[in-house]
């Protein structure tokens, strides 16, 4: 992924997180807890389970729909994610040659089943993580971490990283774009221009970082980033977490697709 693509991806996720929908208004803690429960529920399925995982697609779909998050954007990010799981799982069909009957008269290698299971889990967990950030905002997640007992120092480190990340990347992007606009082909991309760009960026960013630090000191910074926001868990948060948890428990304990299949066959047969 290029620098520019990564950067615009981060920026877009960040902008999405400041929308105002029912999902965005939920307490960050509720969303963090629900997403963690979701990931654990999905991951807890055994190696050869594919069908029973499918109901879990409901959660990301609902979050995206209610949170007004473009599903295509999330799907593209899921595909573009570093495919470690896929590359390792790819070997299951080669090393697991037993056969499994998936339908009367149709059997496939057990490895393909477990590979499919890894792919489904991959899509589910990654989209849940992306939707968490897209509906909660990074500072919101940091506040949730703080309220859930993470050390204050670590939370302020996360907030500082987040702040400086955008300062640094935006500055770099702007200068790189300006250089590209002024250079035709390879002209203007030489070392001398490059050195000047780096020097300018360097001075500008240092000055900005120092101004931020000075401003923080002037506003009483004592090593912790305080938040004025008073967040209280409301009834809607409780309902959300309870509904999500019971849905995950149901899908985990009852093989929903199979049950539905049986019911359907019972009606028709």
């Amino acid at each position: 992924m290029t620098f520019e693509a990564s950067f615009s991806g981060i920026g877009r996720l960040d902008r999405l997180s400041y929308r105002d929908t029912a999902v965005h208004r939920l307490d960050p803690r509720a969303k963090v807890v629900a997403t963690m429960l979701y990931v654990v529920a999905v991951i807890s399925f055994p190696k050869y389970e594919v069908l029973s995982l499918l109901p879990f697609f409901l959660f990301p779909v609902l979050m995206a729909a209610l949170g007004d998050i473009p599903a295509g954007f999330i799907a593209r990010k899921v595909v573009a994610v570093s495919p470690f799981a896929v590359f390792v799982g790819m070997f299951n069909p080669l090393f697991d040659p037993g056969t499994v009957a998936i339908a009367p008269g149709v059997s496939v290698s057990a490895g393909w089943v477990s590979f499919a299971s890894i792919l489904v889990k991959f899509a589910l967990t990654i989209s849940a993580a992306l939707l968490l950030i897209a509906t909660t905002s990074f500072p919101g997640i940091c506040r949730a971490f703080r309220r859930l007992g993470m050390p204050a120092l670590f939370v302020s480190q996360l907030l500082f990283l987040y702040r400086y990340l955008f300062v640094l990347m935006e500055e770099t992007m702007r200068v790189v774009r300006a250089r590209d606009l002024r250079s035709f082909g390879r002209r203007g991309t030489g070392v001398r221009v490059f050195v000047r760009i780096v020097a300018t960026l360097f001075l500008r960013t240092v000055e900005r970082a120092e101004r931020i630090y000075g401003a923080m000191l002037a506003r009483g910074f004592r090593g912790e980033v305080p938040s004025m926001r008073r967040e209280a868990l409301g009834p809607s948060d409780a309902v959300f977490v309870l509904a999500a948890a019971s849905f995950f428990a149901l899908c985990r304990l009852v093989p929903v697709p199979e049950t539905i299949g049986r019911l359907v066959r019972g009606f028709t047969g």
Partner: protein, 347 residues
């Protein structure tokens, strides 16, 4: 080499989350006792620097593969282990959220693999004894290469172990290990060279910064924050802005190694060469032979995998128990090693 959610079992994932959170708490407490406010923005900028540099893949000479900077070692040398660990943990958290690198449950494993080993194992046990007080510049390169290689080898081994304990994949232990370890040897060597380059730069511009970590005291009040920040931002800009222009389009190290394997086209008939050697090795070192790492020979999966639900198999609970015990043993072992090292140094 980010660990991924889809390869984890809940037991392994939560065990490493517990380990990661415990270490974050420990590092925060240690740091709070002697932190100077100025170090907080410095840690933030250092995180942004690592983040920017990790987005750039560079080509590893001779292999056509590309790696990216882990960063744990550079940070530890510049900030000390506790601050460095927190910076690494924050970088990995941002990656898990914004790039979904790995995922949320795997974040614990990733913090463990990429944070604990370089900061609390490779740095105190390898870098410090080799580099000494950092005044001899010729000792920096071998020290950083050795400790970067060691840190990444431990991380890679940890990824293999976490994956296999979770029991979601069929790749045999030996083969996986033979793929992961050599690749991370190369990545580690490159990381060591990059680390040494950065350290030399910092040493030339702000030598007192290294001194203050070498003696593990907080930064002296007189050091200009501006210059230190400036150095980091310069590095961040150079790596983020400049190197990206010719960032490598080669696949990541792991992808390359797998391509190389599958590209051989000899996988189905694997009774010779590296696969056979791996198999023999695996048979020797598999400490839980019938635990699900490999299907028993000649036994059809189809018969035993009748969809009998609930499927409570002994392997799953065994993996939880073993994973928990291993993390505990690792944590205790690391604590013991650090204490032993400290004790030796103070006498």
């Amino acid at each position: 080499m980010h660990m991924a959610d889809a390869l984890l079992s809940p037991a392994v994932g939560t065990a490493f989350w517990a380990g990661a959170i415990g270490t974050i708490g420990f590092a925060s407490r240690k740091l709070k006792a002697r932190l100077d406010d100025r170090k907080i923005p410095l840690m933030g900028v250092a995180g942004a620097f690592i983040f920017a540099s990790q987005m750039i893949n560079f080509t590893i000479p001779g292999t056509g593969s590309s790696g990216h900077l882990g960063g744990g070692l550079i940070l530890t040398i510049l900030l000390g282990p506790h601050a460095a660990f927190l910076v690494m943990a924050s970088v990995l958290t941002v990656q898990a959220l914004f790039f979904a690198d790995g995922g949320l449950l795997a974040l614990g494993c990733n913090i463990w693999n990429l944070g604990v080993y370089p900061c609390f194992v490779a740095w105190p046990l390898i870098y410090k004894p080799l580099a000494g007080d950092g005044r001899d510049r010729r000792r920096i390169l071998p020290a950083s290469v050795a400790s970067a290689v060691a840190g990444l080898q431990m991380g890679a081994f940890s990824v293999v172990l976490q994956t296999l304990l979770s029991g979601k994949i069929a790749l045999p232990f030996g083969t996986f290990l033979l793929v992961m370890q050599p690749i991370h040897l190369a990545i580690g060597a490159v990381e060591g060279f990059v680390t040494a380059g950065v350290i030399h730069y910092v040493r030339a511009v702000r030598p007192e910064m290294l001194d203050s970590v070498a003696s593990t005291r907080p930064l002296a009040a007189g050091i200009s924050l501006r210059n230190v920040l400036a150095g980091f931002i310069a590095l961040a800009v150079v790596t983020g802005g400049a190197l990206t222009w010719f960032a490598s389009t080669h696949p990541d190290g792991l992808e390359w190694s797998i391509e190389r394997i599958s590209g051989k086209g000899g996988l189905p008939g694997q009774e010779h060469g590296i696969a056979a050697a791996a198999k023999r090795l695996q048979e020797k070192i598999a400490f839980l032979p019938d635990y699900g790492f490999k299907p028993p020979e000649g036994k059809s999966r189809g018969t035993e995998e009748a969809p009998a639900w609930p499927n409570i198999d002994a392997g799953t609970s065994a993996s939880g128990l073993i994973g928990g015990l291993l993390v505990l043993a690792m944590a205790l072992g690391i604590g013991w090693a650090i204490r032993a090292f400290r004790g030796k140094r103070s006498t």
